[in-house]
Amino acid sequence: MAASNYYVPESSRLPIGTSIGLIGLAAGAGGMLNHSSSGGEGWALPHFVFFAGALILASVLYNWFSKVIGESRGGLYNAQMDRSYRWGMGWFIFSEVMFFAAFFGALFYVRQIAGPWLSGEGDKGISHMLWPEFVFQWPMFNNPAGADLPGPEAVIDPWHIPLLNTVLLISSSVTVTFAHHALRAMDRTRVIFWLALTVILGAVFVYFQIVEYVEAYEELGLTLDSGIYGSTFFMLTGFHGAHVTIGAFILFVIWLRIIKGHFTPEQHFGFEAAAWYWHFVDMVWIGLFFFVYIL
């Protein structure tokens, strides 16, 4: 049979390696958490499983991405393949949007419905009987259980670090766009400059986020176990921070590839996918800045 135009790879060891890495990661993480929650200390078998899984996953993914880059540069991908990757990345980002939607939904539900009900609002205010003294306010400094589950003493002021981080992240979305324009004009030096700046802005963002967390834990009493305010705060900002870290790492890899001379003005979907992801992370932050910090 004549070979198809659409590249169909031969059988591969990469996916099974990824599956093995993932199960190591999952089973190891489960064991580690159960180990420490049941009072276990030090290293046990799950820790080795977890790190073995992580190592396998990292090395397989390194090989997988290398192979895809090699195939792409080897000219095996046609325009149709390029579109498959575009659809794939687009729908992946949509799935990420829905992941964050679950946490935003939890935040809105607690603030608009569950909290007021605990405080006795509405004709279904039965839950008010649980803690009759509880008065709902947001941020929730006093939890329903009162002294048994102390709330935060204060929360993060949006107009200091969060505002700065907003400026940093929005600027980084602009700089990555400059880098894209430079790539299309094939001005490699400018791409390297703007992309490096983007990664640095991302890294500085993560740094300030860590500073903020340290402040929350050490000075404000705002922790994961300080009730629902801390829960939603750390869940949303934490997952966002993880995404910024991943996004910055992806852009860093793209930066290395630019230096090595990869990409052409016409064909650079790897770059674009990273930029899409970065813009998505940026949009999530704007949502966070409004709904978690300001309002």
Binding site: M1, A2, S4, Y6, V8, P9, E10, S11, S12, L14, P15, I16, S19, L22, I23, A26, A27, G30, L33, N34, S37, K67, E71, Q80, S84, W87, G88, W91, F92, F94, S95, M98, F99, A101, A102, G105, A106, Y109, I113, A114, G115, L118, D123, K124, I126, S127, M140, N143, P144, L149, G151, L224, D225, G227, I228, G230, S231, T232, F234, M235
Partner: protein, 528 residues
């Protein structure tokens, strides 16, 4: 083959399966992966089915006889999880793998290596989940809906493995769905416009969209559980300002579209089969497409009908009640179209058609009991009774599962190049049909009379119907062994199939030889 994974420039002229076990581990071929999915789903069907039989044995008569209540809870939980995430969903993905590239005229799936990854995550994830049965703490015991605080404050330690298992299944489903969407949107043959696609492809396109939209929400809710259990957060803990009802909202925002994820591909399969054996084109093709899309849209705004008794405001109950009832309209359109397709057709009743016709009738019964449950004030009576169990088993067993079996009988000559034994197929159908109804129909009665679900013991007045249901369950369960035999017999000794397989079949998959070649369409066919 072992070196081909590591060398960059393989010999692309080489086309054909590799030899031995590693063929299945390393494959990037959509047919191999489809086969893996289907065998995996069948294995899970037998495992989940055995759990159901343990449940039915315990419920054969009132009183505690066989197993401990704790183990009973593990069985109901694992039965649900294994069947939903291990049997029904992977079976449909396997169908999509086999059929979508052939139906749209593609060489393979859009992203073949990711396709392999989507599959091979599953055996590991389910291996981990099922192994918890043998752990000291026992398997998850909080029901497949894992409501907090049962699944957080009061959960056995295996819940942590359950959470990570769900994460893995979610990763698998999302990647599988992305692959299917990319294949459908990007790899269609020239001339295959969207409104010329076979309905199975359409229903899977919409199903894949639902998967990508809600599997991350499931990941979100189990992540919140994980944080509550191990990191002291208060998402589902009212003492810290959270709310256990929040769990139900987030879970059912996933859970209701999930219900349609398990039935829309079944609609697609039945819409392929009925026209063939009625020897008429499908009645109302475009209305079928719009009805599918409407059902998918509505699935996002009906989730709280699972929660009528949890204490929702009146306006909320009314909204979700009416929104739920609206679903009856597009579903009714579908049933009407299937019946109209058969009307005045020259019908014959080969095994796939028997299962498809049974699907239409029995799924409709499940739909009607769903309509009864949608009535909020009535649901206060039905909630958490066996009526609910009867309802969702009618849509999932003679619904989704019958459609899968129908699809296997319908396409297996194309897959293997051999027909199954028609006489045995008919035996399989009638045993399954009788078994399913004997099992699940009495559950309506005990449910309306007030028998609660998920309880290992019950009041004496429910004894007769429960004994009947248990007998039906064993008839149904054991007849699936016959199905296994029929499939193996077809693969080994079946009569050679023609390329057309059935008289007057339409669609690209029937233009390929039987068995279909390893690579479907290396050159895209022209569709007029």
């Amino acid at each position: 083959m072992m070196t081909s994974a590591t060398t960059l420039h393989e010999d692309h002229g080489h086309h054909g399966p590799a030899k031995g076990l590693m063929r299945w581990v390393l494959t990037t071929n959509h047919k191999d992966i489809g086969t893996l999915y289907l065998w995996f789903a069948f294995t899970m069907l037998l495992i989940g089915g055995s759990m159901a039989l343990i449940i039915r044995l315990e419920l054969f008569q009132p009183g505690m006889q066989l197993i401990e209540p704790e183990f009973f809870n593990q069985m109901t939980t694992m039965h649900g999880l294994v069947m939903v995430f291990g049997a029904i969903m992977p079976a449909f993905v396997g169908m999509a793998n086999w059929l979508v590239p052939m139906m749209v005229g593609a060489p393979d799936m859009a992203l073949p290596r990711m396709n392999n990854l989507s599959f091979w995550i599953l055996p590991f994830a389910f291996g981990m989940l099922i192994l918890t049965l043998f752990s000291e703490a026992g398997a998850p015991n909080f029901g497949w809906t894992f409501y907090a605080p049962l699944s957080t404050t009061y959960a056995p330690s295996s819940v942590t493995y359950f959470i990570f298992g769900v994460h893995l299944m979610g990763i698998s489903s999302i990647m599988g769905a992305i692959n299917i969407i990319a294949t459908i949107l990007n790899l269609r043959a020239p001339g295959m416009t969207l409104m010329k696609m076979p309905l199975f492809v359409w229903t899977w396109l919409i199903t894949a969209y639902l998967l990508i939209a809600v599997m991350p929400v499931l990941a979100g809710v189990v992540t919140m559980m994980l944080m509550d259990i191990h990191f002291g957060t208060s998402f589902f803990n009212a003492a810290g300002g959270g709310d256990p009802v929040l769990f139900q909202h987030v879970f059912w925002f996933f859970g209701h579209p999930e219900v349609y994820i398990m039935i829309l591909p079944a609609f697609g399969i039945v819409s392929q089969i009925i026209p063939t054996f009625a020897r008429k084109p499908l009645f109302g093709y475009s209305s079928m497409v719009y009805a599918t899309a409407s059902i998918a849209f509505l699935s996002f705004i009906v989730w709280a009908h699972h929660m009528f008794t949890v204490g929702l405001p009146l306006a909320t109950e009314l909204f979700f009640m009416y929104a739920t009832m609206l679903i009856a309209i597009p579903t009714g359109v579908k049933v009407f179209n299937w019946v109209s397709t058969m009307f005045n057709g020259s019908m014959t009743f080969e095994t796939p058609m028997l299962f498809a016709v049974a699907f239409v009738i029995l799924f409709t019964i499940g739909g009607f009991s769903g309509l009864m449950l949608a009535i909020a004030p009535a649901d206060f009576q039905y909630h958490d009774t066996y009526f609910v169990v009867a309802h969702f088993h009618y849509v999932l067993v003679p619904g989704a599962l019958f459609a899968i079996i129908a699809g296997v009988y319908y396409w297996i000559p194309k897959w293997c190049g051999r027909y199954y034994n028609e006489t045995l197929g008919k035996w399989h159908f009638w045993l399954s049909f009788v078994g399913v109804n004997v099992t699940f129909f009495p559950m309506h009665f005990v449910g309306l009379a007030g028998m609660p679900r998920r309880i290992p013991d019950y009041a004496l007045q429910f004894a007769d119907f429960n004994a009947v249901a248990s007998i039906g369950a064993f008839i149904f369960g054991l007849s699936q062994i016959l199905f296994l035999y029929i499939v193996i017999d077809a693969i080994r000794n079946g009569k050679k199939a023609t390329d057309e397989v059935w008289e007057g079949t339409e669609g690209l998959e029937w233009t390929l030889p039987s068995p279909a070649p390893y690579h479907s369409f290396s050159e895209p066919p022209e569709v007029k």
